[in-house]
Amino acid sequence: MVSPAPLRDQSKRRVCYYYDTNVGNYYYGPGHVMKPHRIRMANELILSYGLYQNLSIYRPLPASFEAMTTFHSDEYITFLRDAKIDNLNSFGASKGKFSQNNDDCPLFDGLYEFCQLSCGGSLAAAIKLNKKKTDIAINWMGGLHHAKKSESSGFCYTNDIVVGILELLKFHKRVLYVDIDIHHGDGVEEAFFDTNRVMTVSFHRFGNFFPGTGDIKDVGIYNGKLYSVNVPLSDGITDESYQKIFVPVMEKVMEMFDPQAVVLQCGADSLYGDRLGKFNLSLRGHGACAEFFRKYDVPLMMVGGGGYTPRNVARCWAYETSIAVGIEVPNELPFNNYYEYFGPDYKLHIEPSKVLKNDNSDQKLHELQKEIYENLSQLDKVPSVQMQPLENDTLPVLEFEDIARDEENPDVRLPMSIMDSCQHNDADFYDDENGGDDHRNEANGRLSTDS
């Protein structure tokens, strides 16, 4: 039986943060509830709290056509790139071809760019984690979990999460995806429905609620059978009830699946007071999910998602950034460029409702847990490393590195994942293969070439 990774001490994690200031300047259209400006408001709080100092900040390269088509079809990305309102017909874009609902997912100015930034952030985060250069990577521009291979849905056009996970899968055998948005993470589940290399776990409102998938009976198919987990919930769930089901389910998942990387979608529409949702979570209950994964010594990617009351979205993601860096921030919001939006209280934390009825009884939650446990216990237990001889397909990353190092052709630059683990000899003329030009390690470079 595999025990969870030992609890690491609660202090420092390396955290990388991906953000592009353009993102707040895209607008879905008049009357649309999805407002990218909320991401800018979150960034503003993070800056104002002084959290920047504890993060590594990157402006990600926009994802290329090739990067996005690692998941999406060429035809669909071409459509996103080239479609304008007056040439829709040339794409045969009848209603339903690239979108179930053209009003949820309108064509807006800069749509393709927006998608590139969203995917670019998640892709950069995944690559950073692959190179083991960070413990936690954050992309609040991402988390758009409804987008499908050839179809936009639920305000999502490109699925940055799938693109990011596909990158992680190049170096991690098993990736866990956890979705705490109030809506079922259908785009990600569908993408990985038939594989056992990605386990998708979604906690969501189920029952006459968008998108209509996420039944507890949906467990995956073919090789992916039992690798999709769905936790259907009802309105009014509180912090306490949520943790009552989240913790046992996730502990079991960590035990049975033993992921090598985790992607956590932090959709903020599961908070109390969201314009589209009727859950009753506070920031603490929501953030407890991020805290849960921080306890495990496993690479973590945190992405955004839903959230339709912008001031609460900003609060939530700023708070969860503070959790990632392990710094407690005061409840009094710091003055910032959007301070007025946080009235009348100007506090970070929100009070959940005391009158909203919780339709999730302890009994119901217990039954959900029971059924999920029954499914999870049927999973082939992941063998622990020590107990089995290495097979050809286990730990290939290790083998790849060893072999590559041995067989290195001095004329060919080795991949970063190997270079990072190489020690350099002070006698070398250059401190590393980059010819002393690696600006990330400029401090190091200085020290050795100065001598």
């Binding site: 008049p30 104002s48 259908d186 710091p334 460029n337 959007y338 939006y341």
Partner: protein, 348 residues
């Protein structure tokens, strides 16, 4: 699709599109329910009938309601009634929705199993020889299965180089390095920068906001290898995270004349910034209008504009809406929670 026609119908819509559109903290209503109570027009009971709950935003989705209401009626009939209607022999118990945690025994799991193995949309048709079949709830959807059309191509592990051309992410600041500056050094550096900015007439955060990080200053420090003196020498700093894609780098701030045009356009076209740009300010990028909009909302002129155009002002709500009061009456006395759902000062 005639986008312009749909836009005009949107602006005709009383509520959700423009006037009561909750922007950035101006929510008086915590939920859709409370917002609905603002408006006496329209029957919102029908909303929950269709599976598409976003559809309420737009007037022409009543078509969707018509289509799904027949299915909804069927969804409310018992299985027995439905099967009698379509000529089947009623089997055992009815399939239950997943809201109810009770598993209704074998027949419901059999019905679900059917939906898992059903490769494709199970709403696509009836199978006449399947006794257990029952039309699913109209809001339900199934995950589609087809390795080419729907599932992702999972890459093999260990076969890729990690150098996948991502060295181009712009690094603004690195906190994790072998010799990071201490918090004291960083804070005193940032304080010095505030002073520097003051002497150069640049804007600074108000007193009491020393916790705010200065992006440009941190980036300058990083690019000077954490040498605070060198970084200060390189002042003034470039605005390192400027939104150059959506805002032209040489864009000027909005003049008084432009602000006037902007406010008039809002009145005329609503928050359709692409249209406003096209009609009145074609030299501006749409992103500049959006950026200005969110800044303008914080200014006094916004309040003036709101007062001048009362039809755009949402009705001021009491701290808790009538819905909550009703629920409280049902549940007994409660203390009024202090929440963030109350009207923000933007409304005043």
């Amino acid at each position: 699709m005639d986008e312009d026609a749909s836009r005009s119908s949107l602006t005709d819509e009383e509520d959700y599109v423009d006037d009561n559109d909750n922007d950035n903290g101006e929510d008086y209503e915590a939920t859709i329910e409370e917002e609905e109570l603002l408006d006496d027009d329209g029957d919102y009971a029908d909303e929950l009938k269709g599976w598409n709950f976003f559809a309420f935003l737009l007037s022409f989705t009543c078509i969707t309601f018509c289509i799904t209401s027949d299915l909804e009626d069927e969804g409310e009939m018992t299985i027995e009634e439905l099967q009698r209607k379509y000529g089947y022999n009623p089997p055992g118990n009815a399939e239950e929705t997943a809201d109810d945690g009770n598993s209704a025994g074998d027949s419901s799991s059999a019905a679900h199993e059917h939906s898992i193995l059903d490769l494709g949309n199970s709403q696509s048709g009836y199978e006449d020889d399947d006794d257990d079949y029952a039309p699913p709830d109209p809001w339900k959807r199934t995950i589609r299965v087809d390795p080419v059309l729907f599932q992702a191509d999972v890459p093999d592990i260990g076969k890729s180089q990690a150098t996948d051309a991502r060295e181009d992410d712009v690094v603004l600041w690195v906190s994790d390095n072998t010799n990071p500056p201490s918090d004291e050094v960083l804070n005193s550096y940032l304080k010095d920068i505030v002073e520097l900015r003051k002497t150069h007439d640049q804007s600074v955060p108000p007193a009491g906001c020393e916790s705010r990080d200065d992006e440009d200053a941190l980036c300058a420090l990083y690019r000077n290898n954490f040498d605070t003196e060198k970084a200060k020498e390189s002042f003034p700093f470039p605005h390192i995270n400027a939104p150059f894609r959506t805002v032209r780098p040489d864009a000027l701030g909005f003049s008084e004349e432009e602000s006037k045009i902007f406010e008039e356009s809002l009145q005329m076209y609503g928050k359709d910034f692409a249209l406003i740009g096209k009609m009145r300010m074609p030299y501006r990028k749409v992103g500049e209008l959006i950026e200005y909009y969110y800044q303008w909302k914080l200014t006094p002129s916004y309040r003036v504009w709101r007062e001048a155009h009362p039809q755009h002002v949402p009705v001021v709500q009491p701290h808790l809406s009538a819905a909550w009061h009703q629920q409280a009456a049902d549940n007994g006395p409660f203390t009024e929670p202090s929440t963030s759902e109350g009207p923000s000062t933007l409304s005043n």
